[in-house]
C-alpha cells in the first residue's frame, strides 16, 4: 500500500513534468504522511542532510568543479584542437577517431553530457562533412559520450558504491578499474556500428560550431560580464590544405600536453595510493586551476567566483537528487518494500540467466525516463540483493547497472546526452532519435556481454589486486 503510494505518486509527478529531485522528494513525503501523519515528515531533514553530507559523495562536486575549471582554463579546448588535428581531412576512419576522442574525454570527466559538449561541436560537423548523415553523426557523439560514466572517473560508480554498501561493500577504486574494459568494449562496439553507417560521397560544407560548446557554464545570471565566460568551445581552425598535417599535429600536441596529463593525475593518484578518489578530484581541480592561471593564462582571478557558482549549481542538481532519493529510499527501507519486490522477483524465476535479463530490461525502461543517479538510488536496493542471491558478484552488478544506465543517457524520452548533442549540432531532437538505433544496439550488446560475462568486469581489478 505504502509502496503503491510511493511509486504511484512519483510516476504521476514525473510525468507531470516535476523535476526528478522534487518528484522523488514529494512522493516520499506523501508516503510518509500515509505511514503516520504529518509528524513522520520530521525525518526528512535529518535523512536529507545526512545523505548529502557524505565524505565519499563530496567527490561529485569536486569532479564537477574540476570539469568546469578545465573548461575555463582552456584545457578542454586544446584537447579538442588536438583531436581535430588527429582527424585532419581524413576520408576514412573519422568515426573511429571520434570514439577515441570521446573515450579520452571520458577519462578526464565523470560526466556524459560534459563529454558530448566538449567534443561534439567540432566533431559532429566534421562527421557530417565526411558524408555521415546528421542524425547519425549526432547520435554517435551522444552515445560515445555515455562512456563518460563508464570510464573512470565516474560519478555513477561512486553513487553505486555508496548505495550498495547496505548489501555488500565494494571499494570505489575497484569499481573504477572495473569500468575500463567495458568502456573499451563500448568504444569498439560503437566503432563497429559506425562501419555500417550509410555515407554520401560528396563533401558537404558545414560551418564549424562556435560558442555552443561551452558546455558546463550556465549561460545566464551567474555573473554579469560576458568576458567572464570561458572562450568559445572551439578555436576556429579552417582546414588549410597546404599546411602540413604533421606540423599542425605537433603544434596542437604541445598545447594539449597539460590536458593529456589529467587522467594520469586522477587515476595515477588513486591507483598509486597518493590520494582517495575524492581527493583525486580536488587535486585535478587544483591542477587545472594552476594550468589556467599560470600556463595558459586563460583564467583571471575574478572568474573564480563564476566558476564556483557554476560548479555549485551543477553539483547541486546531482546532490539534490541524492538527498531526495535518500528520503525516498528511507520509505522503501522502513517499509521493507525492496525485500517484498526482491522476493517477488526471485519467486518469478530461480534462473540466474532470466533474472539478469529481467534486470537489464527493467533498467532499460527506467533509464529511458530518469537519470542514472536517481535510478541507482531507486533500483540498487531492489536489483542488487536479487542478483547477489542469484550468484552474481557485486562488481559485475555495479558495472552492469552503470553501463545499462549509461545507455539511458541516449534513450528517449529523457536522454541528456541526446539533448546536448542535438542542441550543439542544431539537429532536431526527433531526427537524432531516428539515428540512435545502430548505437543503441551496439550499447545493448555491451550491456548483455557485461551482464553475462563477469570476467569482463573482474579481470582487470583482480589482475591489479584491487
Amino acid at each position: 500500500m505504502i509502496g503503491a503510494i510511493l511509486f504511484g505518486s512519483f510516476l504521476v509527478l514525473l510525468l507531470l513534468g516535476v523535476p526528478v529531485a522534487f518528484a522523488l522528494g514529494v512522493a516520499a513525503c506523501c508516503a510518509l504522511v500515509a505511514m503516520g501523519g504529518f509528524g513522520e515528515l520530521s525525518i526528512v531533514p535529518s535523512v536529507f542532510t545526512a545523505s548529502v553530507s557524505s565524505e565519499t559523495l563530496l567527490a561529485i562536486p569536486f569532479f564537477i568543479l574540476a570539469g568546469v575549471i578545465m573548461e575555463y582554463a582552456g584545457i578542454s579546448r586544446r584537447l579538442v584542437d588536438f583531436a581535430q588535428a588527429c582527424v585532419g581531412r581524413r576520408k576514412h576512419g573519422l568515426a573511429i577517431v571520434v570514439v577515441v576522442a570521446a573515450f579520452f574525454f571520458s577519462a578526464i570527466s565523470g560526466s556524459g553530457p560534459a563529454t558530448v559538449a566538449a567534443i561534439g561541436s567540432i566533431l559532429i560537423p566534421a562527421l557530417i562533412r565526411q558524408g555521415y548523415r546528421p542524425r547519425h553523426a549526432t547520435s554517435l557523439l551522444a552515445t560515445a559520450g555515455s562512456m563518460g560514466i563508464i570510464v573512470p572517473p565516474s560519478v555513477a560508480f561512486i553513487i553505486f558504491a555508496v548505495v550498495v554498501s547496505d548489501y555488500e561493500g565494494v571499494s570505489i577504486v575497484r569499481l573504477f578499474v572495473a569500468g575500463i574494459v567495458p568502456g573499451i568494449l563500448l568504444a569498439v562496439a560503437l566503432m563497429i556500428a559506425s562501419l555500417f553507417l550509410p555515407r554520401t560521397t560528396a563533401e558537404q560544407p558545414v560551418a564549424v560550431g562556435g560558442g555552443a560548446a561551452s558546455g558546463g557554464a550556465s549561460e545566464s545570471e551567474v555573473g554579469d560580464a560576458d568576458e567572464d565566460r570561458p572562450r568559445g568551445g572551439v578555436t576556429e581552425q579552417p582546414d588549410e590544405p597546404h599546411r602540413p598535417a604533421m606540423k599542425r599535429l605537433a603544434a596542437t600536441f604541445g598545447g594539449a600536453i597539460p590536458g593529456l596529463l589529467v587522467p594520469l593525475i586522477i587515476l595515477g593518484g588513486i591507483y598509486g595510493g597518493i590520494v582517495t578518489p575524492t581527493e583525486s578530484a580536488v587535486v585535478a581541480a587544483a591542477y587545472a586551476l594552476l594550468v589556467g592561471l599560470f600556463v595558459y593564462r586563460e583564467i583571471a582571478v575574478r572568474q573564480l567566483y563564476r566558476i564556483l557558482v557554476t560548479a555549485a549549481a551543477q553539483s547541486a542538481v546531482v546532490m539534490l537528487i541524492v538527498g531526495a532519493a535518500s528520503v525516498f529510499a528511507y520509505v522503501v527501507t522502513a517499509n521493507q518494500i525492496a525485500e517484498t519486490v526482491s522476493d517477488l522477483l526471485l519467486g518469478l524465476t530461480g534462473s540466474p540467466v532470466l533474472i539478469v535479463l529481467l534486470a537489464v530490461i527493467v533498467l532499460l525502461v527506467v533509464g529511458a525516463f530518469i537519470d542514472a543517479v536517481s535510478a541507482l538510488y531507486l533500483f540498487v536496493p531492489i536489483i542488487a540483493p536479487v542478483l547477489l542471491e542469484a550468484g552474481v558478484d557485486v562488481t559485475t552488478i555495479g558495472v552492469m547497472m552503470v553501463v545499462n544506465l549509461a545507455l539511458g543517457l541516449v534513450t528517449p524520452p529523457v536522454g541528456v546526452n541526446l539533448f546536448v548533442a542535438a542542441g550543439i549540432a542544431k539537429v532536431p531532437l526527433l531526427e537524432v532519435v531516428k539515428g540512435i538505433r545502430p548505437f543503441f544496439f551496439a550499447g545493448l550488446a555491451v550491456v548483455l556481454l557485461v551482464a553475462y560475462v563477469p570476467a569482463l568486469s573482474n579481470w582487470l581489478p583482480d589482475l591489479l589486486g584491487f
Partner: protein, 309 residues
C-alpha cells in the same frame, strides 16, 4: 497479557548483520515478542539505514522520536554532548574486569542521567570492546613507534589529539575506503575493535597488530524517552528485562569472539600484546591530554567512569 496496546518499533545498529550488535538486537526483538505475547514487534535495521548511514543523525532521530531504539557507541553520543566521551578516555581501563567494576560502580547511572537529558532512556550498555591498532610501518610497542604513521581515526577531537600528541599523522576517512586506502598506502594504519579488524579482513593489507586496549568502547542501548514513559509499568518491565538479557548476551558473545579473533589474527599479523608496563608508558605520554579533556568531560563524569584501583 495478550490484551494491551500493540506496538511496532524500529531499531537500528551501526554495523552489519554479521555483528554481535545485530545478533543481540534480534534476540531483543525475539524476547520482546515472546514476553509481550506478540504485542511488541521490533524491526531491526543494519548500517544506520534509517539515517542514510549517518550514526549521529541516527541518535538525533532517537532523541526526537523518529526512531524507537538503537545501539550506538558512546563515541557517537560524544558528538552530541562531549561528556559522553569520558568513558572512551585513552588507557582508562586495562582490561574488561576493570571496565566492569567501573560500570557497576557508577558509570551506568551517570550515563543514564546524561541520556535522559537528551530525551533518551538508556536500557544498559552493550559493548564494541577495546579498540586495537593495526599498521604497515613497524610494530608499535612504545609511544615513539607511532611517529609519522598515517592513521585513520574516527572524526572526533579526542582521537585526533591523542594520535597527534603521540606523533602520528591522524586522518579521517569513510570506512568503506579504508581497506583500499591501506592497500594503496594512502593511509598506513587504523584503529578499531577486534571484530571490525577481523571481519573486514584487514590482515590482508596490514602487517602489524598492537593489542593495547587503548579505548574502551561501550554501546548505549537507547530508547526514545517519551516512548518509554508512555508505556505501562508492566510493559516497561518487559522492555527493561529484554534489554538486560540482550546486553548480557551481546557482551558475552563479543568477549568470547574477541579472544578467538585475537588468536586468529595473531597468526596473520605480527602481533604485540602490550604489557602493563608498556601501557603505562603510553598512559604517561598522554597524561597532559587527559587533564585537558577532564574539563570537557566534567568532574562528575570523570569520577563516575574512573576505575577502582
Amino acid at each position: 497479557q495478550p490484551d494491551g496496546p500493540v506496538y511496532t518499533w524500529d531499531m537500528t545498529v551501526t554495523v552489519g548483520e554479521s555483528s554481535t550488535w545485530y545478533q543481540a538486537a534480534e534476540r531483543f526483538a525475539d524476547t520482546l515478542e515472546r514476553e509481550s505475547g506478540g504485542r511488541m514487534q521490533l524491526r531491526v535495521f543494519t548500517g544506520e539505514q534509517l539515517s542514510a548511514g549517518d550514526p549521529a543523525a541516527g541518535v538525533e532521530q532517537l532523541m526526537n522520536g523518529d526512531k524507537d531504539f538503537s545501539y550506538n557507541s558512546t563515541i557517537i553520543y560524544a558528538g552530541i554532548d562531549p561528556r559522553f566521551g569520558a568513558i572512551n578516555a585513552p588507557f582508562l581501563y586495562k582490561d574488561y574486569d576493570e571496565a566492569d567494576r567501573a560500570l557497576h560502580g557508577g558509570a551506568v547511572p551517570a550515563y543514564e542521567k546524561l541520556t535522559s537529558e537528551i530525551g533518551i532512556t538508556m536500557l544498559g550498555f552493550g559493548e564494541s570492546g577495546f579498540r586495537q591498532l593495526t599498521n604497515n610501518m613497524r610494530p608499535v610497542e612504545q609511544p615513539s613507534d607511532l611517529a609519522g604513521i598515517k592513521t585513520r581515526i574516527p572524526g572526533i577531537g579526542m582521537f585526533t589529539d591523542f594520535f597527534r600528541d603521540l606523533g602520528a599523522n591522524p586522518t579521517t576517512m569513510n570506512f568503506s575506503e579504508v581497506f583500499t586506502a591501506l592497500q594503496q598506502g594512502t593511509i598506513e594504519g587504523q584503529e578499531n575493535p577486534m571484530d571490525v579488524i577481523s571481519s573486514s579482513g584487514l590482515a590482508e593489507v596490514q602487517q602489524y597488530l598492537t593489542i593495547w586496549n587503548y579505548v574502551y568502547d561501550p554501546l548505549v542501548l537507547g530508547m526514545n524517552q517519551e516512548l518509554f514513559e508512555s508505556l505501562s509499568p508492566e510493559d516497561r518491565k518487559i522492555v527493561q528485562d529484554a534489554a538486560a538479557d540482550a546486553n548480557a548476551f551481546q557482551i558475552k558473545t563479543n568477549r568470547g569472539l574477541e579472544q578467538e579473533q585475537i588468536a586468529e589474527q595473531s597468526e596473520l599479523m605480527e602481533t604485540s600484546e602490550l604489557s602493563d608496563a608498556q601501557i603505562e608508558r603510553f598512559r604517561r605520554a598522554v597524561g597532559p591530554l587527559y587533564e585537558q579533556y577532564e574539563e570537557v568531560w566534567g568532574p562528575e563524569m570523570v569520577r563516575a567512569v574512573s576505575p577502582e584501583r
